[in-house]
Amino acid sequence: MAMSMEAAFQALIDARRDEIVILSAGNASEMWWGLTQDRDSVFYLEASMSLAPMFGAGIAMAVPQRDVWVLNGDGALVMNPGTLMVERQMDLPNLKHLVVSNRAYGSTFDASLPNAAHNDYPAMARALGVQRAAQFETVQDLVGGLEMLRAPGHGLFVLEVEALGRKIPAPPIDGPEMKFRFGRWMERACGVRIFG
């Protein structure tokens, strides 16, 4: 069973409090942008495949008072699953890795993902010592799991979503604009000094 990606993202957007949001390339960035038009309090890591969890970990280390939600495609996770080991080792209680699992390379017209039918991402995480690993297949599951998501502790949470089946617009934000808008927001919201 899988939910629509739009419904899953809308549920997270509705539930969001003050979490920092990092989005991986492709459908994740595009869907969040389409639903929020947010140019400041999220980082669309469109120019990278597979490194959003590490990027989010770098932020989470410095702002332990804020949860960091990393929405990472399952295609990105398949490209670099070893990041789960680094995440587990860092064990950042405010880092929440959300896998947007559409069982396809969504941003390239739902091209085939290796071993798509058999990949058990929560089991992978548990095998690496990530205790808090869960999979949500309906919006009701996801909403019901928000308490687990918010509880302190690193975790991996899989959103089983339907493949989008269509292209949606990318955030119209150039790289330096993304850096400065998000960075200035981080300075204001989290009290960190980035640009001086």
């Binding site: 120019a47 490194l51 590490m54 280390m61 410095a62 070893g82 960075g183 981080m186």
Partner: protein, 168 residues
Amino acid sequence: MSPDLSPEIVEEVARAGVTLVASLPDGWIADLIGRFDADARFRHVPVNREESAIGLCSGAFMAGTSALALMGASGFLTCVYALTKINYTYQIPLPILITLRGDVGDKAKYHVSNGLYLRPIIAAMAMPFVEVQSRTDLPAIGRAIRHSRTIARPVVIGLPRHVLKGAD
């Protein structure tokens, strides 16, 4: 045999304000990594592959943390995509300490390719590159770290074998 300059390299990095070091080893930097790991001024994160260091350090910058990536030459060559996509697209600074594997003095035949292609690839990416060939070059490490912040791009600092392991 000339002394290993690893302790002084660590001091230069600390003086430049770096507090996060992400590394993946190469035989020449095992001792250097151990020194960063044991030094309370740094948080050291061993990573699964070199490009994960690029992602981690780049994210750290976006939260105000000064970071350094430490890796071998071969690992650096696997990072072309991550560096050009993340650090060039978003203009995120990142100092990268690498070994100069394949240079004169490296007897490992499997590193010949690094000797042939490392510098041309760094040049092709228009990435500032400094070499530390002796103790007198050590202040270049701090200058390179600060320069990376100034230009909002990665800067590569190359370390040859004799600086890390002592001369034969």
